[in-house]
């Protein structure tokens, strides 16, 4: 159970992880039970048509605002707001805790007095971060599949899996960013704050892009754009988007050890 930094890190995270799973269960159950009363309600769509454009940008997952359909409903409710929030929270908190959390707590001093290179330590923590976020995404996927079938949303497991997969990749971008900021600075609050701020900025830029033409170029730098624009709930995974999201995470993961290796660790 405690045979490696990877196993130890996962075990530490398990306590909070159970609560994340429980919360996810609760929210999916809530969304599933509300859907039947919205399903086929065209007047709701008419209402949304009159929303300000700025608001539509935030809730239209993949540009689709047909909230009375299963895919539109899940896109607006789960994948535009609540899903990213939960997966980002888990990924960013894991990323910030990985090195900066342990450094602030003072145990990193002892851990790295063992014959363990800094890069190895970082990579094992990174692997634990990926596993934890992946596990929660998997739980979310299973619950959504159950909700979709039982509430008659008509979104198949494959497309749900596609949307959850792209969401996972999106969340990992910011989780790995938090880990890299923590590796570079040793400051947990900074790692959380900066990653979360950038995640929100990514959403805002992408959502407001239709309103301001100068944002059209900027949105291409937003991971949120690659997460949503392919509308994975209807079209499955867009390979280019997925590759770009993976590349962003890999880039952060590649820079992190370089920053971590070169600096002084804070004394407890």
């Amino acid at each position: 159970m405690l045979s490696s930094v990877f196993a130890k890190t996962l075990r530490e995270r398990l306590r909070a992880f159970r609560w994340w799973c429980l919360g996810t269960l609760g929210f999916v159950a809530l969304y599933g039970s509300v859907y039947p009363s919205i399903s086929g309600n065209k007047s709701l769509n008419d209402l949304i048509k009159n929303y300000p454009e700025a608001l539509k940008g935030f809730i239209g997952f993949g540009g689709n605002l047909d909230i009375a359909s299963g895919a539109g409903y899940l896109g607006s409710e789960v994948f535009s707001f609540w899903g990213p929030t939960v997966l980002l929270a888990v990924a960013i908190s894991a990323g910030a805790a990985a090195l900066a959390g342990e450094e602030e707590h003072g145990t990193l001093d002892l851990l790295l007095s063992l014959p363990l290179s800094r890069t190895r330590c970082l990579l094992e923590k990174l692997a634990a971060l990926v596993c934890e976020t992946l596990a929660l995404a998997f739980v979310l996927w299973i619950l959504l599949v159950v909700a979709s079938y039982s509430a008659g949303m008509g979104v198949n497991a494959g497309n749900l899996g596609a949307a959850v997969l792209v969401l996972l990749l999106f969340a990992l971008d910011f989780g790995v960013l938090a880990l890299a900021i923590g590796a570079a600075t040793g400051r947990r609050a900074l790692a959380i704050g900066l990653s979360a701020t950038l995640a929100v900025a990514a959403d805002v830029v992408n959502a407001l892009a239709p309103l301001a033409s100068w944002l059209d170029g900027v949105k291409l730098a937003s991971p949120f754009y690659y997460y949503t624009h392919g509308d994975p709930l209807r079209n499955g995974v867009n390979a280019t988007d997925a590759i770009i999201l993976v590349a962003i995470a890999v880039a952060f993961a590649a820079v992190a050890p370089l920053l971590f290796r070169r600096r002084d660790l804070a004394a407890p």
Binding site: L2, H105, T107, L112, P115, D264, L265, P268
Partner: protein
């Protein structure tokens, strides 16, 4: 034979503030080497440089003839470390922590941990967060000795240990040295280092003041005598007394360093009205006082 620790001109600045500067020393295999200095002198900085937790601003540092930066993992596999400010995984029990560290060191089970825990009477199965300061320190000691390291870097190891456990610790250090292993013992307590070390280095404000065999240091040891007079005695009243030096004057209080028989000083004191007399073996602070009274040449 290769020195276990060799530092040459080792310097560490944190931004503009000093860690250590121009530190050079060698520690031989099988030595218990005392590294003595007041808090903030740079002891912890030196130890953390050896483990590559921080990087030198300049100078060279080798352990076992290996560069501590380039061959850091190899260095750390042969080294046991007790931090001065020990932080442990609060949720684990000592058994879990020791098993974890043993696994990361490539050992099965607890390594030497079980035997050492028995020796220190450390309870292995209570969560660390519920342990007293002394028991935490035992966990720190056991993990440092877990893999029978060739070199032990111990930063203020007896902090929080009760006297009986200190005796066990002293025995353990002697055994380690007898096996030809090396101990680098950082401390701010002169008597502790005198009791345990073969040689001692004294560090102050980041620089080495002296490195000496413990016998030489002991020969320099003196008794601190503090006399409180009814009226301040005239300056020079105690000049030229054999084995007696004035260290300090604070109004009617005069502090002397006494080496050898007390008689000349007692006779001299008796010429004045003495209200109080206090004497004890010199501690580190007295030592520094004596050192700087005589300039930084090291002549005490």
């Amino acid at each position: 034979m290769t020195a276990v620790i060799r530092a040459e001109g080792l310097t560490k600045f944190y931004g503009a503030s000093r860690g250590i500067s121009g530190l050079s020393l060698e520690v031989e295999p099988g030595e218990v080497f005392g590294f003595l200095g007041p808090n903030g002198a740079g002891k912890t900085t030196t130890v953390r440089l050896m483990l590559d937790l921080i990087r030198p601003s300049s100078g060279r540092l080798e352990l076992f003839g290996l560069d501590v930066r380039k061959q850091s993992v190899a260095v750390r596999s042969r080294t046991g470390y007790l931090p001065g400010d020990l932080r442990l995984y609060e949720r684990l029990t000592p058994r879990e922590l020791l098993r974890y560290f043993a696994a990361l060191r490539g050992l099965d089970g607890l390594g030497e941990g079980k035997r050492l825990a028995e020796r220190f009477e450390l309870e292995l199965d209570r969560p660390i967060r519920s342990l007293s300061k002394g028991n935490r320190q035992k966990v720190g000691l056991v993990q440092a000795f877990l893999h029978r390291p060739d070199l032990l870097l111990l930063d203020e190891p007896t902090a929080g240990l009760d006297p009986l456990v200190q005796i066990t610790f002293n025995e353990l250090l002697r055994e380690v040295a007898a096996e030809g292993r090396t101990v680098f013992l950082s401390s701010h307590i002169l008597s502790e280092v005198q009791r345990l070390a073969d040689r001692v280095a004294i560090i102050r404000e980041g620089s080495l003041e002296l490195v000496e065999a413990i016998e030489t240091l002991r020969a320099r040891a003196f008794v601190r005598v503090e006399a409180t007079f009814a009226k301040p005695p005239p300056r020079g009243a105690f000049a030229g007394l054999p084995g007696v030096r004035e260290l300090e004057r604070r109004g009617p209080v005069v502090v002397f360093a006494l080496e050898g028989p007390a008689d000349p000083l007692i006779k001299a004191l008796a010429r004045f009205e003495v209200l109080a007399l206090d004497s004890h073996e010199a501690d580190l602070e007295d030592f520094f006082l004596a050192l700087y009274r005589n300039g930084a040449s090291g002549a005490l």
